[in-house]
Every structure is written in C-alpha cells, then in structure tokens.
Amino acid sequence: MASRNRNSAASAPARRSNRGRIRADWDLYLLLVPGIAVLLLFKYVPMYGILIAFQDFRIFDGMSGSEWVGLDNFRRLFTSDDFLHVFVNTIAISLLKLVFLFPLPIVAAILLNELKNMAFRKSVQTVVYLPHFLSWIIVSGLFIDLLSINGGLVNKLLSQLGADPIPFFLSNDYFRGVLVATAGWKETGWSTIVYLAAFSTIDPGLYEAAKIDGASRLRQIWHITLPGIAPIIVLMLILRLGSIFAGDTEQILAMYNSTVYKSADIIGTYVYRMGLGKQEYSFTTAVGLFESVIGFALIIGGNYLSRKYLRRGIW
C-alpha cells in the first residue's frame, strides 16, 4: 500500500501541469456514457415510484389517481406495537453477523492462501463455495435435521457428552446463533473469492524478502498480506454497512417459526407477514425507503470515517 501511494505521489506534479484535462481526457468521459445511460434509463427513470410511499396507492387507479397521505405510512410503521421489538431484532442480528461474519472470509482467504499444495488448495476453494448455490429453503431443511432433538447429529453428540438436548430452532436463546452460524456456513466460502483475487496484486518478492529476514508466517500475514488486501477490505466494509439495516429477510423467512419471533422477527419478515395477501404497495415502499435512507447515510458516514482515519474510501 505504501509503495503504491509513493508512486502516485511521484506522478502528481506531472498531472497538475496538465491544464485542459477534461478536453484531453474526452475519451475517458466517452467511456462513461453507456454505463450512465443504462443507469439513468433502468434505475433513475422508474425512481418516481418512491413517491408511492407518500400515497395511499391503489394499483388500478395509478399514481395520479391515488390519494396523497404525507407521512402516514411512516407513522404507521413507527407507531406499530411491534416496531421497537422488530427494529431491535434487525439491528441485533445484523450486528452479530457483521462482527462474526465480516472477518471470517478474510481469515479464510488468508489461510487458504497459506496452503502450499496447489491441487489441494484449488479443490478446497471449489468445494467451500458450494453452499452458496443452495437456496435458504434447502439449507434450512438441512440444519433442522442436523440440529433436531429427534435424532439430529448434534444433539446425539451432546447426549453422548451427558448434556441435555438443545432445541436450537425452538429456543430464543439459541436461534440467533443458528442464524449467524448457518449464514457463515453458506456464504463464507463464496465471500473469500473477492479477497483471493486481491492476493494476486501482492508482489511475491515481498514474501521472499520477508522469509530471508526470518519473519514468521504470522508476521508475513500481518505486514504483507493484510496491507495488500486492505483496499478491498475497506470497500467491502463500507458497502456492508449499507445493508446492516436491510437484514436478511430471505434467510429468516426460510428458517424461523412462531416460537422464535421474540428473538428473530425482523422488519422485513414482520412487514411480509402483516402484508400477506393485502397488496400494501405504499406501506412496503415506505418501509423500504426508511431502510434505504439509513443504509445510504451509513455508507456516506462509513466512507467519511474511512477517509479520515484510513485515508482511503470509495470516493
């Protein structure tokens, strides 16, 4: 990282002397045109749909025929009896996942990188990302069997050790743990890929030099590998912040049941259940907008902090 900064610093004076840089870089702007066109057409043209959040939208009357209700939909969300409890659950589960699951692929990628037997390493890489391709419904069924109190493997082991069986899926004490663990099992392997790609940018000469210096593997990891992939880690972390609030509705819908609503009902699942069969376009749009605004603020905040303390960010 340091050497790269030095490179750019060296070239700075040359750049500064370049006066008509927009004109000189016209082809750079040309490259942006198709991407921005797709973005404007497919993302920004329909953006007016956000206004539905401030209406009592009836689909057959269209937006022009529906009544404007101001902040009513938001008021309904915030004043609902269950709001506080699902809000707390959303944040609690997201934070647990952030703390336990964000570092996991980085650690896994680094450890994978330390496997020197290429055939073994490639097979392992291919195998650990398999669960990403299983749907949450299938994963849920798998873990229900594995953690069952009627002959599930884990509880069999527990009883061998003389412990009481644990109803993982039925217990508000354990269910959040189940959510975090299964998400880790399913996605960690897949998430290593982006870090593995980043390793290729590190100069192998640095490791050679460090070995000759007698630096231990741990020191090499700490002083060469980690700094080498720091930019991508920072990017991933900032983007991850943006989704803290969205929660993983799909996973929880597939795995939870009414006995664990107390610990696992999040905004997404709650809104889903309450809206079943009701076609509440306005309310769901309002909830989505609320999540987006917070997510966007977190990304901007995260980028600001990252620029300030780590001196790098998305922009």
Partner: protein, 498 residues
C-alpha cells in the same frame, strides 16, 4: 438535457438489440400457433393460467381443447409465488388476454376495480352449454352486484381430504383399542409413548388447516364461521377453540405431540411416520401412496388404519369439508375477442367435449366397469394429468363421476380416498359462507389473519405463549382486520337469509 440525450442514445441502442431478440420471439410464437392448427374464422385466443408444473403450449389436454373447439390458444402462466402482484401488473398494462383463470381473491380484486367484462349478455347469447352445466347455487358465487363476472368452477364436489391414521400393528402389539374420543386418544398416545418410545402423534405448522382436523372437530372446531343465534362468529372467538388448544398443549407438554411441530413441514411429518418415528398423523388421501408405500418399504410388517372421526362429548362426530367455488374463468374488459372467448368456454362445456377433455377417449384413456370410469394406464397419466388444470368451469352433474377416475389410477390412492369418504358419510359440515360471492372484507384480510392465527395457535400449543394470553391474541386478530372481516361476513349472511 444531458440526461435526455443519453436516454435517447441508449434507447436507439436498445431498440436494435430488442428488435433482434423480439423478432426471434415472434417467430417462435408464429411457429407454435400454426402447429396447433387454427381455422380461419376462429382467431387465436390468449389465455392466462394459474401456475402449474407443465407447459400448456406443449400439453396433450391443451391441444385437445384446440382440436375439439377449433380455437387455437396460446397460454401464459402466472408464477407460483407473487402471483397476485404479477396479475396486477399484467392487468394494469393491459396485456391482451382473452381469458384468465383466477382464484377467488384475484377474481374479486379485478371484478371490483372494473377490469373484468360482465358476461350476462354473452352467456345468454352464446352460452347454452354453460347454462346447463353450472348450477344456480354456483352462479351466486360469481355475481357481484347482481352481474356475472366469470364462470365459476366448483371442482370435484364436496369431499373430505384428511383423516388421522395410526400404526395398527402397534395398537395390536400393545393391546390397545382404536380410540373413539379425545380421552381414549390421550390414553392411547400415553401408552404408545411409554411402551414404544416413539413420537405418539406428529403434525405440522404449515397452515391453520394442518393444525385443525379430527381432534379439533371433536372439540367442536370445524368451520371458519359458526352461526350463533343468526350471527356469524369466527372460530377463534369460540370457547371450543380454547378447549382444543388446552388439550393440544397438554399433549405437547407431556411429549405426546411431536415437540418439533412448530418446525415440521408436511413432508417432514410424512417422513417421521414413514420411517417409524411416529405412530399417528393426519394423512391426506392424495399423499397416501407416497406415505404408505414408503412405510411398507421400511417396515414390511406395518399395518395402518384410519382412525374413525373422533366423537365429541355428546357422542357425535363431525368433519369439515371444503366446498364452494375454487376458480373463475373470466374475460378482461380490454380483451380483443370477447365473443370468441365466451364461445370457447361454451364449446368446452358441450357434454361430449367436456367428457373427452376430462377423461379422454373411451378405450384409449379410460374404460367403464360397473358403471364407474377407470383410467387406462399409462396413457391416462401421460395425456391427462393436467386435464383438470385446464378446466374453465365444469359440468357439475357429471364431473364428480369423471373426476373419480383420477383417484382410481392407484389402488392405495383409491382405497384411502374411498374409505375416508365412507367414514365421513353423514358427518360433513361445510362453511356457512362457502357459497357466498367474494366478500371484499374477507378477501382482503383472510391470508394475513390465517398466518396470525397459525402462529398464535402454534405458540399456545407449544407453550411459548400461555393460554392466559388468549385474549391478547383475539384482540390483535380483531385489530389486524378480524373485526372488519367479521362485519363483512355478517353483512352478506344477513342479506342472504332475508
């Protein structure tokens, strides 16, 4: 300005890409429609179907519809999930369908917003066969403000679908008699638990209907709505429901009911019975071949019996059976070929055509023995497994007989279907609002209230919520739309009785 320019630019780009791909598509469509052999004076009709696991554009029955009526038809399908959202999108964008097959809530939703064509005049003009096929009672379910907006499809007649089954070999081994009421059931379950160390009774959390059934009926909980002195009261507001939950909670607490009931899917329940982990569960006849064959493969000496519907305190048994209109065939207001759409519906209900669409040709797809229709296998399954999906209204007098051929394709299926019906004879109750036209307040609130109900019921049974909180449940239910729904149901009920 820049925005507009780039949008235009991309638009041009896209147009080329799209015309290339779109061109391909229309070629395909032309190809498929010409192969279905339309006649010159009958236009190709476009029909929107509910999701089903086949491509109707390639299906034998669908082709038979075209051959027998002379109308080439191109089918589209709603997805299995988010079907209602998708339907709305299609309708507000006036996707040019001539016919649609809708569920009851979808039917009400579209009819009430004026998206559907009233059919009274056209049925009068072109619908001779339709009028003979559909009974007066069924027509009521398709009327909104006195006008007919669709052809109601009632299905195969009133029939029960589920009954408790028990491992008879275990009862014999333990010297237990078949339980006839909930007290005896308790004793049987307790003995099985002590002596066999298996799950005495298992069940699933998938729907309210999977929690109710034989045991609930013995406590008097059967239909959604109960007539109390002329006023409809929902089942959750009856004391019987509370008694039932208390009983189930006792079973659960004593380990007589599967501890994992809150997790079980229907498939899981069947699995536990089939591999000998559980002694009793509520079997649907259409799952009988799967469940029973699997059990026999694992334990060749196993014997399974139906548990006769349990009797209540007064010694009377009842069983709930779903009835009423399941589907509606409708014509959208913006359809291009409204007359032809109704003519097609009529042609499909011409008695001989209908019979062939339902059970194929005699000697090829079915045969007649003792006045009953039997399928000829495998031809019947190959060609006609989707026949009922393609129905748009049925010949209500004859269809139950035709339909019965479908359960005669497998001896286990037939045995369980027929025995369940025999056990239920004279005991069936149906819902007081089963034949009502779609009631807006019910259509709107039904689904989320069912979810709310199943969640609370599971929590009461499993002890997650104590029964002392029952009033909290009723209050939440009322607040979330229960009050509105009760009022809507009663408004119709009173108007229908007067």
């Amino acid at each position: 300005m820049v925005k507009k320019l780039s949008v235009l630019l991309l638009g041009a780009l896209l147009a080329t890409a799209v015309s290339a791909c779109g061109g391909n598509d229309s070629n395909n469509e032309a190809g498929s429609s010409s192969s279905s052999g339309g006649k010159g004076d009958k236009p190709e009709l476009r029909m929107l179907m509910q999701y089903s696991r086949f491509d109707p554009n390639q299906d034998y029955s669908a082709k038979a519809v075209s051959t027998l009526t002379g109308y080439p038809i191109k089918f589209d399908m709603l997805p299995a999930e988010n079907a209602d959202e998708k339907l709305n999108l299609l309708v507000i964008n006036k996707e040019p369908y001539d016919l649609m097959k809708l569920s009851a809530p979808q039917f009400y939703n579209l009819a009430s917003t004026g998206a559907l064509e009233p059919l009274d005049d056209r049925i009068e003009q072109f619908g001779g066969n339709i009028k003979t096929a559909i009974s007066e009672k069924s027509w009521e379910s398709a009327k909104i403000d006195g006008k007919i907006y669709g052809i109601p499809e009632t299905g195969s007649g009133v029939a029960v679908s589920e009954e408790l089954v028990v491992r008879q070999d275990w009862l014999d081994e333990l010297g237990l008699k078949m339980p006839t009421n909930t007290d005896e059931l308790y004793t049987v379950l307790k003995t099985i638990k002590e002596k066999k160390n298996v799950i005495p009774l298992t069940g699933s959390k998938e729907a309210v209907s999977s929690l109710l059934g034989d045991i609930a009926a013995a406590f008097g909980v059967t239909t959604d709505w109960v007539d109390q002195n002329g006023t409809l009261v929902h089942q959750i507001e009856t004391p019987q429901m509370k008694d039932f939950l208390a009983y189930m909670n006792k079973l659960y607490a004593e380990g007589l009911l599967d501890v994992e009931l809150p997790l079980n899917t229907a498939a899981k329940v069947m699995e536990k019975f089939a591999n000998g982990q559980a002694a009793m569960f509520k079997l649907a006849w259409y799952n009988a071949p799967n469940a029973i064959n699997a059990l026999m493969a694992n334990e060749p000496n196993a014997k399974v019996s139906l548990v006769p519907y349990l009797k209540d305190k007064t010694g009377k048994a009842t069983v709930f059976a779903a009835s009423g209109t399941t589907w509606y065939a409708v014509v959208p207001k913006y359809a291009k070929h409204k007359d032809d759409a109704v003519k097609l519906l009529d042609a499909k209900l011409q008695p001989d055509v209908f019979k062939e669409l339902a059970i194929g040709k005699e000697g090829v797809h079915h045969e007649v023995k003792d006045g009953k229709y039997y399928p000829i296998l495998p031809k019947f399954n190959d060609d006609l497994s989707n026949a009922s999906v393609l129905m748009t209204g049925v010949d209500e007098t004859h269809y139950p007989d035709y339909w019965a051929a479908r359960v005669r394709k497998d001896p286990t299926l037939q045995a369980y279907f027929e025995n369940m019906q025999k056990n239920a004879e004279g005991l069936i109750v149906t819902d007081p609002i089963a034949l009502a036209p779609p009631i807006p307040e019910v259509a709107k609130n039904k689904l989320n209230l069912l979810q709310l109900q199943v969640d609370w019921m599971v929590n009461f049974i499993s002890g997650t919520e104590p029964l002392t909180n029952y009033d909290a449940f009723v209050n939440e239910w009322k607040e979330q739309g229960g009050d509105e729904m009760t009022k809507g149901a009663n408004d119709w009920y009173k108007s229908a009785k007067s």
